[in-house]
Amino acid sequence: MFTRIFTVTLLMAACVHFARADSPTVTAVLSNSETTVGDAVELQIKVTGPGDTQPPEEIAVDGLEIHATGTSRQFEIRNFMTTSTVTYNYTVLPLRPGRFTIPPQTVRAGGKLLRTPALVLNVADASGRSSSAASGRGAQVRPLNTNELVFAELVVPKKTAYVGEMIPVQIRMGFDPRVRPRLIEPPEITGQGFTTQKLQESGESSETINGRPYQVVTYKTAIAAARAGKFELGPVKAKAEIIVPRRRNAPRPRSPFDLFDMDDPFSDPFFNNPFAQLAERLPVEIKSQPVALEVKPLPPSAPPSFSGAIGNFTMATDAKPKSVQVGDPITVTATISGRGNFDRVNAPVIEDERGWHKYPPSSKFKQDDDVGISGTKTFEMVLSPNEKKQTLPVFAFSYFDPAREQYVTLRSEPIAIAVQGGPAPASAAVAQAAASPPSPATRKSSPAPSPVKPQDILYQMTELPRSVESFSPVYARRVFWLAQLVPLLALLGFAGWNIRRTRLDNREAQRVAALQHEAAQLMHRLQRADASPREYYAEASRAVRVKTALASRNRRIDPNMVDLDTAAETFKLDGASRDRLRRLFEQCDEWQYSGAHNGPGNLSPETRREVLELIENLRP
């Protein structure tokens, strides 16, 4: 089972491999992408893949004369598979200067239609040939003496520039693909009187120069001249190691273990690299030709807002917020985009600062290319209005345009804002300062309507308070919480006093309730007829005393202490009632102290009714 799966997988992989190998490909390449009028370049269209191929039909480009010069075919057998490569050669003769694009060509290969990539050819005029040699192509291809295997080229697009102007520069390092170069020291532009940006590797391509194939590595940078005059840029210098065929008389490298040159057989590099017998690694210095550059000074009469920016820029401004109070900050964002020396691009200046307070700006730069010549620099400035304003001030930014050879000033559009409120607090402070006691250090403020900027500070204090002050808030201090003990104790006292008063009130209420209960019981018993006279008069007398005690609530009279006078006074009795009450008390005392044997055994109903009537009529 496992063997079957393995076989099927192997077959599928082989099918995929063959299917991939069968697909034809096409490439097109120019021997040089730059040339001059009358100087022909070679165009090669290479078709790789099985089957028959058909070349493209006539290639017609206005300004270029393109003729087919021949076809070559190459067969290759690899991994039991045959591959054919057909190369169609053409000669391209420029008839006039300009930038030409050879459009994609359709090639039929293996029954499929393939399209070549579009190719661009830059053609300079015939007179530019000499200038191209001196400036556009700073150094002609200068292969080293080591069999013309490597070269360096400094490409400067301009012959003249202004002081501070950023000039993009290309360094092209070409190597024969067979030398397998290893760069030891990166290329460096030598010379004085200019600054160089950081070198950036921008790409690698294969080119055919003077009929020889080269692997070309391109570096980009930018230079800026520091002073006026005639300069010589370069040469570009770099160090690399290349592999070249071993010379017959070249000494064999010694092994580090072969200290005494004993011709140790293991020191033979064959044991490290068998193919090293055929080639050796050679350090070379790659050097280009220098390029002449004329640097002109900037013209005089630069605008006030010019800070040294040279190039071509645009400016956009925005503000946030647009509705503020006097003294509130407004953030103004100024965006300067374009191409030039951004390190000298400063924030735009305010043309009329009156009524505004400005703060130092912050900036950030976002570059659009490798060397920082083109990009966008954004400034954030904080302004605060000192008075009511309807628009932001106009911001101006000046630069020198080397193409037009003149200064250009960009001005922002006035941005509408709403500023509300009174004058800025500065003037209030000055007024306050002016109102304080006079001192030699005090300066009078000028009567200008705009907020006055004071110049000097007020006098020194000569005394210190005895007590030390603290930054900690009062509630974080111990004394504050200790002070709270006073109202806390007062509150506790107040609560205690209330509790005591309530308790006292409750005791009195209980006493009154007990007396009321006793009075009700006594009245109930007095209405019965079975009581003896002694009991009856005792209860009647007690009832009078209890009612008197109840009636004299504020005086809190004990019922046992009530006598005739107290009861008469409490109930404000008239003479008759007073006599009847006295008789009641006397009868009570008589029955109480004379014994039960004296007098009748029962009371008459009339007597009971009179006593009840007397007691019930006792009202305060």
Binding site: D328, P329, T331, H357, K358, Y359, P360, P361, S362, S363, K364, E380, V382, P425, A426, A428, A429, V430, Q432, A433, A435, S436, K453, P454, Q455, D456, I457, L458, Y459, Q460, M461, T462, E463, L464, P465, R466, S467, V468, E469, S470, F471, S472, P473, V474, Y475, F480, A483, Q484, P487, A490, L491, F494, A495, N498, I499, R501, T502
Partner: protein
């Protein structure tokens, strides 16, 4: 002082009138002196005693007044020496003198105000603003500090933190005033509640008063919290370095958020190593080197 003088005048008036009644002088006269012939002499003696007593009272009052004056202002030799250095134009020595008093913990608004002036004269507007702010933190109604602070801000172009709207409305009183008010209102509410609990009949007025007190107490606590945690609260700090960049991260190479001139206000939110994370003017936030900013409110050591 006026009360004392009035008391003295009253005493003298009563002594000179010699009126009968309950005056102490009258009580001191023995029964023997009530003889008609000696009455005037005794009265004169009484007057002299009264005058003498009044004089001693006046002197005692003057002594108390002098003591009370000395409680408010005290000549400090170190402070006076620093003031002299300032007057002679030796601002660095003056700064050293004032700062030694600061280090000793004898803080006062006048001390920080003078120190701010010395820094101003020395050309360091950031530290001048810091010390004016400290003077105002100790004594919010210090007119000289407020005036000089504005001057220093204008000179330095310092950025100010914007107060939130509750802060703007609540800043008519200070945190300490709100704290005292909260305490008074709290106790008033507590007394009202106790009275309500034990009252036989609960008065609607008292209930309304207690509710009002509780509301004011809550408002005071909210005010304290808002002012303490606001942009000008306990976290307020002043940028003392020059051309300080607030950055997006704790690295000198991080992108800049805002350039802060010396004297600019920030609100410290947190600290990480040598960096402060702070709220910046214009509602931004960023990291600032800790050495470039100092808090306004100093903490008592120990």
């Amino acid at each position: 002082m006026n009360r004392q003088a009035a008391a003295d005048r009253d005493l003298l008036r009563r002594a000179s009138s010699g009126s009968a009644g309950t005056t102490p002088a009258r009580r001191d006269i023995s029964p023997n002196t009530r003889k008609p012939g000696l009455a005037n002499c005794d009265l004169a003696v009484g007057r002299r005693a009264l005058v003498k007593r009044a004089r001693s009272i006046v002197m005692a009052a003057a002594f108390c007044a002098s003591l009370s004056v000395s409680a408010f202002a005290q000549p400090d030799p170190q402070f006076s020496k620093a003031n002299q250095q300032y007057a002679q134009g030796n601002f660095k020595q003056a700064i050293a003198g004032y700062e030694s008093i600061v280090r000793a913990g004898r803080w006062s608004a006048n001390l920080f105000y003078n120190l701010g002036n010395a820094w101003f004269r020395n050309g360091d507007f950031g530290r001048a603003i810091l010390n004016y702010e400290r003077a105002l933190a100790l004594e919010p109604h210090h007119p000289e500090a407020a005036a000089n602070l504005q001057i220093a801000r204008d000179e330095a172009g310092a950025l100010e933190m914007q107060r939130s709207w509750p802060e703007r409305y609540l800043r008519f009183a200070t945190v300490n005033e709100y704290a005292v008010a909260a305490a008074v209102i709290f106790w008033a509410a507590a007394f009202g509640l106790v009275a309500l609990i034990f009252a036989r009949r609960r008065s609607k007025t008292l209930i309304a008063l207690v509710i009002c007190c509780l509301f004011l107490f809550a408002l005071s606590i909210y005010s304290i919290y808002t002012l303490n945690h606001g942009n000008k609260g306990q976290g307020l700090a002043i940028v003392t370095g020059k051309d300080v960049q607030a950055r997006l991260a704790t690295a000198d190479t991080a992108n800049s958020v805002l350039t802060l001139p010396p004297g600019s206000e920030i609100k410290i939110l947190s600290t990480r190593g040598d960096w402060l994370y702070a709220a910046l003017p214009n509602n931004l936030r960023g990291w600032i080197p800790a050495k470039d900013a100092e808090p306004v409110r100093l903490r008592t050591s120990g």
